[in-house]
Symmetry: C2
Subunit: 359 residues, 2 copies
């Protein structure tokens, strides 16, 4: 997603500004903890997680919204608001990785695995795993609480804060609802494509694209017409983005994506890809999917058999068709959207990167 | 803690008001979810958790702070703020129970256990347990997010909100730091009494007593002198409250406390009681503690052996002495505090109930 930079005049400065804001905030928290006789570990673990990578996608989309709403150079308060979105995202990722029992993220061990490893040999393995997971749950909780603190100390005007808070509240609920559906359907994938799309809509399209865009636009005082156009654009792009992510999660190269390509299959995730394959499978293909999807010890050989079925049923091609259709819909929205040309250019580039990306 | 009612003129009305606020908020959320094609389960599970009991202690203490700050009849906005504290507390309890792997709370199964039970027979036990824990993590996350939403829609004036937000942010961080210390020391109790007291100070004294009192007082526009007096009072009362809780957690009757009296011992919690016993134990007593504290399958017979040591070393009596000293310190603060007599009466009653309670 780094290429989105090119479409946004201030992207590199923004990314740097977000990182600087997060670093300064967490350094302050670490020092404050020490002065109270507490350990700086919480702030440091969270800082390590945030520094380990991440494309700062939501801050960048928020800044794109700022410009689409008529804003130009990005002021400090908007950078801090964008940083609060990144902190919130850290919360989401840390808790998602616990729920999904994932081993790695961004090419490194997930936070709960790393914290389990730090428990040392004085604890039995099961106890170390429990302590590691508990610490990661807590550090996720802290990230959620601190994202709120960043937002409220961003220096927004009362009018800006009043406009943005309802969107932030919606965004939080939506991503949690999406994750709830994801968790409760995992391990039991069905032919229900609509439900799989609903998960995507809440967990990604609204959370990753629509809300950050709207938040940025609202900060700039965008008109209702602009905000509606941004929503109409955001939902298809966001859905396409997640469909691409689902394909990469199964067919992508782990050394590029940073995630093992087995996790989604081993977790039996209820994705559009899998729902379509279940709809189209013949008896033999169905047996393969039923036996292997969500299997605890699933290895590369089993995953390859699933991949064969996902391709042979045409499900993979159908998802590519869906991505192409969603991409076209988003671009059509931009043609008639009441946006400044430089904002449209940024959104057009975002569309390309989100739908065609290799990671 | 129900007896605190008597010291607070509007306590029953407040408790009812908080419950009504929470019910209405969650019903609205459940309806909104359904209208979006999502399940009302999240709001309903949280509602069930909140309805299953709880003394509404933090709302009551917040209302006591309101009166100590000079407020009289409790307005709707203060009730909603108090309700947001109760919602935040639901978040704390739900996540704490996951981290502590607790089976029961308020005499009923903990939320993650209940949700595990709801997974039905289509999942293997380990998968059902994972889904139950994941759903409970998420519902806790939702409670944290929604406590914020309740606060920001409470109808506070900008001045009230500005005064209260920094306290709310402090409160969130403090309880999370306390829980982090609790989790990272569990299973490895030591003779370090100071560290055990630090856990209490953050996890209970500040979180349960100081911050709710200050928040209520700030809403009423209390002077700095009043707020400082409330802190000086709150910290010893809160510490005594937790020391009593620790004693009850080990020596209390489960049918009265609603919690198994084995959980703290089985979890090897680093409490003041245990730290004092470890300091005072002779070689034989030390062997009992080392072998049994934090033991996975600890039963009643083993727990009785620990209890004998906790009593025989004098640790139990020492904790009772500490409670008495803290209680006296809190009452001394009240003697010279710049508070209205009716507020002092309420705080005096709170002191008695917190330090002498049977549950």
């Amino acid at each position: 997603m780094a290429a989105v930079t090119a479409g946004l005049p201030h992207a590199e400065a923004l990314r740097q500004g977000v990182t600087t804001t997060l670093d300064a905030f967490l350094e302050h928290k670490a020092r404050a903890a020490v002065s109270l006789g507490m350990s700086p570990e919480v702030a440091q673990s969270l800082g390590g997680f945030l520094a380990a990578g991440g494309k700062r996608l939501r801050p960048l989309i928020c800044a794109t919204g700022w410009q689409a709403g008529g804003g130009r150079a990005i002021p400090e308060a908007v950078i801090r608001t964008a940083a609060s979105l990144e902190m919130f995202h850290a919360f989401c990722l840390i808790h998602d990785d616990i729920m999904d029992d994932s081993d790695s993220r961004r090419g490194a061990p997930t936070l709960h695995r790393r914290l389990t490893g730090l428990q040392g040999s004085s604890q039995r393995p099961a106890a170390a795993e429990r302590t590691g997971a508990s610490c990661a749950i807590l550090i996720g909780d802290v990230a959620l609480a601190w994202s709120d603190e960043l937002l409220h100390t961003a220096g927004l005007t009362p009018r800006q804060l009043g406009a943005v808070l309802p969107l932030v509240h919606e965004m939080r609920s939506e991503v949690m609802y999406g994750q709830y559906l994801d968790v409760t359907t995992a391990g039991r994938p069905t032919t229900d494509v609509e439900q799989a799309r609903r998960i995507i809509r809440y967990k990604t399209a609204k959370y990753t694209v629509e809300r950050p865009l709207q938040i940025g636009a609202c900060l700039a005082g965008a008109s209702l017409a602009v905000r509606e156009a941004l929503s109409a654009y955001a939902l298809p792009v966001g859905e396409a983005f997640q469909l691409r992510d689902d394909l990469l999660g199964v067919f992508g190269a782990p050394e590029v994506t940073g995630k093992p390509s087995l996790d989604d299959l081993r977790g039996g995730k209820h994705t559009v890809l899998v729902a379509l394959a279940l709809q189209r499978a013949d008896a033999g293909q169905r047996r393969v999917l039923d036996a292997l999807l969500g299997m605890d010890g699933l290895g590369e050989a089993g995953a390859d058999r699933i991949r064969e079925v996902l391709t042979a049923t045409g499900a993979r091609a159908e998802v590519e068709n869906m991505i192409a259709a969603l991409r076209a819909r988003a671009l059509r929205v931009l043609e008639s959207a009441p946006l400044a040309p430089y904002a449209t250019a940024g959104l057009r580039r975002l569309t390309e990167v989100a739908t065609a990306r290799a990671r």
